[in-house]
Subunit: 360 residues, 2 copies
Amino acid sequence: MKRLHNFCAGPCTLPVTVLEQLADDIVDFKGSGMSLIEMSHRAQIYDEIHHGTVNSLRRLYGAPDDVDILLLQGGASLQFAMAPMNVLGESDKAGYVLSGTWGKKAYEDAQLCGTVYPAWTGAEEGYSRMPDPSEIIVEDDTRYLHVTSNETIGGIRMADFHDHGVRQVADMSSDYLSRPIPWDLFDVVYGGAQKNLGPAGLAVVFVRRSVLDNDLSHLPSYLRYDLHSEADSLANTPPVFAIWATGLMLDWMEEKGGVEGMQGRASRRSSMIYDAIESSDGFYRSPVRADDRSHMNIVFTLADAELEADFFAEADALGLANLKGHRSVGGARASVYNALPTESVRVLVDFMAAFASAKG
Amino acid sequence: MKRLHNFCAGPCTLPVTVLEQLADDIVDFKGSGMSLIEMSHRAQIYDEIHHGTVNSLRRLYGAPDDVDILLLQGGASLQFAMAPMNVLGESDKAGYVLSGTWGKKAYEDAQLCGTVYPAWTGAEEGYSRMPDPSEIIVEDDTRYLHVTSNETIGGIRMADFHDHGVRQVADMSSDYLSRPIPWDLFDVVYGGAQKNLGPAGLAVVFVRRSVLDNDLSHLPSYLRYDLHSEADSLANTPPVFAIWATGLMLDWMEEKGGVEGMQGRASRRSSMIYDAIESSDGFYRSPVRADDRSHMNIVFTLADAELEADFFAEADALGLANLKGHRSVGGARASVYNALPTESVRVLVDFMAAFASAKG
């Protein structure tokens, strides 16, 4: 089998050992006489997988005891609504950092769920950078500040998390569990699993237990954090396969040094690509301010845009897949999520240098 | 490998050929160099799987062109809220048939999303039967009537669908695609995939296109049927694995005669178990009125409840798994979803007869 080098922005590549384990066990789960995906979600075998995944998430991310972990469906998209619905009281308001496509989507949904305001927007600058901490304006009596830690389309990230005087709610989908986070700053941290943690179909939500004390009885049951928490995310049938596969991926991450290990990988691998850009004498360009460059989604353009078609065709021929930038911005984008082998990055940067040298 | 006879009430057993196909392709999808679950949901290979599943659903269920098909997350549980949110206008009201645990849950969530009233309730009779058509009271100016076609816990089903003068919204999770339905009666038909169609993590929603003309701009994006429809259920990352596996299961159903084939299987197999109950001289008992007996979840008790522990232990020893009734009602329950082999039912009824004869 020839594996492609998969720089897809999501769903993510997975360790081949995880895929092989899924293949081995999907017909007959460890001699049980059935597949895990055929079992009752109340069965003991599934229960161990379910709680194993939750426990791994807590251990790897260092989430404190007063933060609960929910395994939900509907992706980060549903959390754009659920977070304000569950956290904002009727007389509360929240500030939103509009740092890109995803921060903007979160804000637009939140406008329908409560009183919110933009605490900063990068729209005028084409979402090409993150705000400096001093640019974020938090109004008095703000319940939370919403941030997007990494914007996949713009290829920008918040290099550090700062205290803005109120607890934060954060969409971390695209750099989930790829760096330690200061838990004291956050009331809710959410994200889809399909970039850094596992396959699509699972959203992981960390929520401070004090939020669960809110009176949420006006919300339909699936939209209530407190009911999911009380039921250990088993109030309805959970996405069994995605939870199982994510658990295996977390085991793999633990073997590779956990979140700190992932942070080191991400730093090294993104540096390899940014170095390839910087050392190309302007053949490749990064549109992103150096301090804000994502360690997950490396966005770049070719100075001569007419060479792009050749670039992608030659990359494809080498098995370098999914390098096209998002259709809304064009150019190239290499996503180097947790599971991507470093070897794939080496093949990419060697190709970038060779291509620049041949065409430059 | 020894397969158990899996009478689980959900998630469901799957055809072993489907599980084997998943195992074969999960590491490297048909020589593509990556797993399907690692691909972009915008990639052509995934696109074919996605639309193939939608097309199979339409073909097998005979859904007319003015009914759209959405592939969502959050199970039927999230539809308890989304259906009223999307269908009910501000001045509308809806009637709910409270036929069991699931009808009641749908009603409770709908109360938080609009004006609703009970059109019938089986609560006083312990949810042991469905209403006769004449018992359902539809008030004037009702926008829709909500029904649950099959109640998994009570083991009752609506044997026929009747015209009550308004379009219906139906939770069909537990007898999905197991019998043809009269589409003219319904505006929305929804259900989780994990009983009759595939693994957990996918909800399939059939929605009449006229519903999508409602002004839904007050709803957050994930909760809007119209946005999912416009984006072909690709507005956010879909649950790729569950859609893939469901597509394979639908192919298998088509080989077995489609929905009519499933209807015949369900009728024969449920009859085998009801016959075993009726011919046991009162050793086994069905608590359900004959006309309303589910073809999917066959609920029964032992006249001598003290024999139950032995019954389950001996069944387990024969590989007859998951026969315990729901914890809220006790007794026994055999769920015979679409993919259960008829051979499993034969082993069960032989065991039931032998056990009754030995202990009776």
